[in-house]
Each structure stands twice: as C-alpha cells, then as structure tokens.
C-alpha cells in the first residue's frame, strides 16, 4: 500500500459516460491483485470533492493501471477531464482480492453496468491459471456497453438494444439451462446491490461458490475510519469493513 502522485497516460470515453483512465505506477501495477482497488484524489489544491474516490483496478498494461468508471458525479466528472500528462494522487493497492486458486474448472463472471470494471484484470489472471471463463454482462442499454478484454462474453440489455433482452441474472439462468454440463464452477460478480442479492440466492440454490465485489461509501479506504461496514451473516451480526476485509466477499458471508 503506497500513496503516489501518478502521471495520467490517457483518458478516453469508451461508452456513454464511461471512461477508461490509464496512469503509470510501477509500484502499484507490480503488487496489485485482481479485485483490489485504488483510492484517487479527484481534487487539486482543495478544489474538488473532499474525500478520495475508490475505483477497482480494471487492467494492467506494462507498468500502468487502467480504471474504468462511470461519470456520475463531481469526482468522476473531474477525473473524466484528465489528460495525458496530468497528475493524480493515488493510494493503493487497497483491499483484498478475488481468490483465483481452487479446484474449480470454470469461472463464470457476472457483472452489471460499471461492475464490469475489475474483470478484464481478473480474466487475465484466470487465463494464466488455465480456467475456462464465461462472461455475462448486463447493461441498461447498448450505449453503456463495455466488453473489452473479456472472454466468451454474452450481453444482456434492459431495453433489448443488444443481446439478450432482460437483466444479467435472467441471462445467467438461461446460461445454466444451456450449459447443464458445467461442473465445478465458481462465480465472480460485481454490480448493483439488487443484482448481487438475487445472484447470491441463485448461487446458494445451485451450491456454487460465489465471490462478489462490493461498493459502498468510504472515507479512508484503508481501514482506519470504520466508515464502510457491511453486516456479516454470522450469529453476532457484527460488521466487516468493505475497504479492508473486502471489497471481495463470499456471497453467503454477508447480509446484502
């Protein structure tokens, strides 16, 4: 975990209001694992939002990192305007990571919207481990679609503008119907809470191990403020911290 001022190498709009920003950091790119995130200061000289903004690491290219983000508010809008040569203050890598090892054969990636962000990086690592990958992505509409650097991709859109018309969980159900032969699978997922909730139920019924990446309001991102609790599914109902114990959790470990 380091704090570093990093040079932006590019920032492009890759889908409607979806931006891919690449910055250089030898240290972070060499130590980061899939599922981890970075906490970026979107302000300069006190101009901009107070708190850092967390983003999953989306891809590693040589000694640089890509983040993929949806410009939804003040911070992401400021970041979307960064250009080659600008500097950003980055804290990372943060949090835990997806557990890639294990004796499953097939990785099923399920992502809703900008939840696709961490999966290009994860896919690269899964491939190295020789896993078979299926990637199911859901978007509101095709103009928000981002599906680069992923394997065996199937798309669902709410409005049917591309691929399956419906949500990604319905697509997953269809996928299971069509692929009854799949055994020893593991699901990796990221997306809106409603999606994760429904996914967790499916995974539990099918008895498939399911790791999910959570979002949530954060202040420090490094485990010192206790600001990002998520309720555990244990008897004590105590809390885990998304930034430190997560952002990756087993779907049945926590109360969504």
């Amino acid at each position: 975990m380091i704090q570093q001022v990093c040079e932006v190498q590019s920032c492009q709009e890759v889908a409607e209001k979806i931006f891919r920003l690449r910055f250089y950091s030898e240290e972070i790119s060499n130590s980061v694992k899939p599922g981890q995130f970075v906490n970026i200061l979107a302000s300069e000289n006190g101009v901009g939002p107070l708190l850092r903004r967390p983003f999953s690491v989306s891809r590693i290219v040589d000694n640089s990192l890509d983040i993929l983000f949806h410009a939804v508010g003040v911070g992401t809008t400021i970041l979307s305007r960064k250009r080659k040569g600008d500097n950003i203050d980055v804290l990372g890598p943060l949090g835990n990571s997806f557990k890639i090892d294990g004796d499953y054969e097939t990785a099923i990636i399920v992502a809703g919207g900008i939840g696709v962000a961490p999966f290009p990086f994860l896919s690269t690592e899964l491939i190295k481990k020789g896993k078979t990958i299926y990637t199911l992505l859901g978007f509101r509409s095709s103009n928000f679609k981002y599906s680069s650097y992923l394997k065996n991709t199937q798309i669902a859109t709410d409005d049917g503008s591309e691929g399956f018309k419906g949500n990604v969980i319905q697509l997953l159900e269809k996928f299971f119907e069509n692929n009854k032969g799949i055994k020893s699978a593991k699901i990796f997922a990221c997306g809106p809470t409603v999606m994760l909730k429904s996914l967790a139920k499916h995974a539990c019924e099918k008895n498939i191990c399911c790791e999910i990446s959570l979002e949530g309001q954060m202040a420090c991102g490094v485990g010192i403020c206790q600001g990002c609790p998520v309720e555990k599914n244990n008897v004590d109902m105590d809390y885990a911290l998304v930034c430190k114990d997560g952002p990756i959790f087993l779907a049945d470990q926590i109360k969504l």
Partner: protein, 317 residues
C-alpha cells in the same frame, strides 16, 4: 529538515517532541497505516475511542460527504480496552511517538474502569476523555454539555492517575468556556477542542436520512472557522494547554490554531484525504519558524494580535 527550532512541549512529566498529533477516530489505533506514514515523526497519536467492552458500532450508512466536510456515525466501533492492551499496545511501544488513549463511556464508572485497566500498562502517555457521549444512566444527556457532570468525571479520574488527563470538549453547547473552566478546576491537565458538530443529511429520493442514526458528527474544513472560534474562547477562559482540532488541512491552518491559543493541534478528517498531512505540518512548522525567525514554536501559542474591544464572541451580522 534539520533545524535548531524548539518544537517540543510538556504536559506534566510527559515531553512531546512536537505539537502535531492525529485525532481520535481518524488514525485507527495508531499503527494500521504505518506503511503510508512515518508515525515516528508525530508528536503523538490519539487512538480511536476505547470503551470497556468492544462495540460493533452503528449500522451502515456511517458516512456522508458534505460541502468541504463529512458526517459520520461510526458509533464508537472499537475493539474494547482489553483487546487494545493485548493486541495493539505491545507493537505501539516500538514507535518513537506518544500514544494517548482516547476513552469513551456511557457512565462515570465506566470511564474510571477503563482508566484503571490502562494504568496497569506502560507505553501510554496519557488519556483523552471523550465526553461527547450520552450519559446512559442520566437520561442520555450528553456529558460534555453539562459542566457538573464533566467536572465529576475529571475529579474521579484525577484520583486514579498521574498521567496527563486531557478532556475533549464538544462544540454543541452554548458556553464551551464554562465547561472548560469546570474541568480545569477539577484537575484536568489539558483540553481538546473540538469534537464534531451535530449535523444531518437527507436522501431526497428515499426521503430517509443518509446516516443510519439520522444525525451524526460534522468534521473537516467546513468546520474550521467554528473550531478556531471555540479554541479562542477556551483559551481566554483557562490556563491549561489546548489541543486545537477541526478542519486542519495544512500548516497555515495549524498556525491559525496556535495563534488562537492552542498549544498543539490534531489533524482529523484530513488524514483520510492525505495520510501524510500531519507529517507535512511537522515540517511546515519548522519551515515557518525558520522563515520567521522563531526559535520556539511555542512563541506562536496565543500570539494573536486581537482588539480587546471585541472580547465577547459574537456572530455579528
């Protein structure tokens, strides 16, 4: 930076190497982010509030960003004093800085019990008493808004310890100086000014409060002007040292607090934004001293050049 500037100060027998501290609840128990910050550079570390028993804290959502500030409702989530002395304190002793344990409790007795336990351990430089807590036994009224209740806590704790006893005051009160005087008279060694302001935010889509507990504590640069006025008010009321806290985000802010009367400062919320701000201020103080021909940072304490005519603090309109 090497310089001959005197940066240290003393409270009771404890010598602090400089006047820059990190505030309770904004730096964990002290060593969690030592990968990011050289904590040996700090005057000291105020731990997250410790209670007698572990507390799991309030439900999410605990944090909301606001204009130049943030609201929090952590709910004093902490591992409890017993785990602290077992799991955290041994490692903290390895650092060349002072650990001041901040203590929260819901009764006078609980404050005393926690101090009694901590008295058995070395490696603790002093206690900061968080009186911005509801007194559960007396109808939930906040200790810190009542000078009698606060003074009683101080008197009781004073009998238990020779370590510096620092009382952390809430700004959510009409006359903070009354409370400060009461605790000075009861034997406190210092005051910390201020804790968070009560605030609130609403999600207009769901029509629910954004924080799970409806209201929470406002901190960050937004509250700096309020904090500075409170420090100034307390400085005029008491002689004991003041730890100035509230929205400090750089050396200039910190110097304002010294001039207003703070003996030392604590950095809170801004640790989340830039974990190295406190270390930067340590160096910033030295640089400022050198540039302004100051031989002891202490010369700045209370050095405000203010017109005595305006000695009653007003929100003039």
């Amino acid at each position: 930076m090497k310089s001959d500037v005197i940066t240290s100060f003393k409270i009771r027998e404890v010598e602090f190497k400089n006047r820059v501290f990190v505030a309770s609840g904004t730096f964990g128990y002290g060593n969690e982010i030592n990968e990011l910050v050289d904590i040996n550079q700090l005057g000291g570390i105020f731990t997250k509030s410790l209670s007698l028993k572990p507390r799991k804290g309030n439900p999410p959502q605990r944090i909301v960003e606001t204009a130049s500030g943030m609201l929090n409702t952590i709910g004093l989530a902490n591992i409890g004093v017993h785990s602290f002395v077992k799991e955290k304190l041994p490692d903290l002793k390895n650092y060349k800085t002072h650990i001041i344990t901040n203590i929260a409790a819901s009764s006078k007795e609980e404050f005393c019990e926690v101090v009694k336990i901590l008295e058995n351990y070395s490696g603790i430089a002093g206690y900061e008493i968080n009186v911005s807590c509801p007194n559960v036994k007396e109808g939930g009224i906040n200790f810190g808004t009542n000078s009698k209740m606060t003074a009683e806590i101080v008197s009781k704790l004073r009998k238990l310890t020779e370590r510096p006893l620092i009382i952390k005051l809430t700004p959510n009160t009409t006359h903070i100086s009354e409370i400060a005087r009461a605790i000075e008279d009861s034997g406190a060694d210092a005051v910390s000014v201020i804790n968070t302001l009560i605030g609130m935010a609403i999600d207009i889509k769901t029509r629910k409060p954004k924080l799970s507990t409806v209201t929470g504590g406002l901190s960050g640069p937004a509250i700096k002007p309020v904090a500075l006025a409170k420090v100034y008010e307390v400085a005029k009321a008491v002689k004991i040292p003041i730890f100035g806290i509230g929205g400090i985000s750089n050396t200039n802010d910190a110097i304002e607090f010294l001039l207003a009367g703070a003996t030392a400062i604590q950095v809170g919320t801004m640790n989340f934004v830039d974990p190295n701000i406190s270390v930067n201020i340590v160096n910033g103080f030295k640089r400022y001293a050198v540039e302004n021909g100051i031989s002891d940072i202490g010369e700045l304490v209370g050095a405000l050049n203010a017109d005595v005519k305006y000695s009653v603090l007003q929100s003039w309109l």
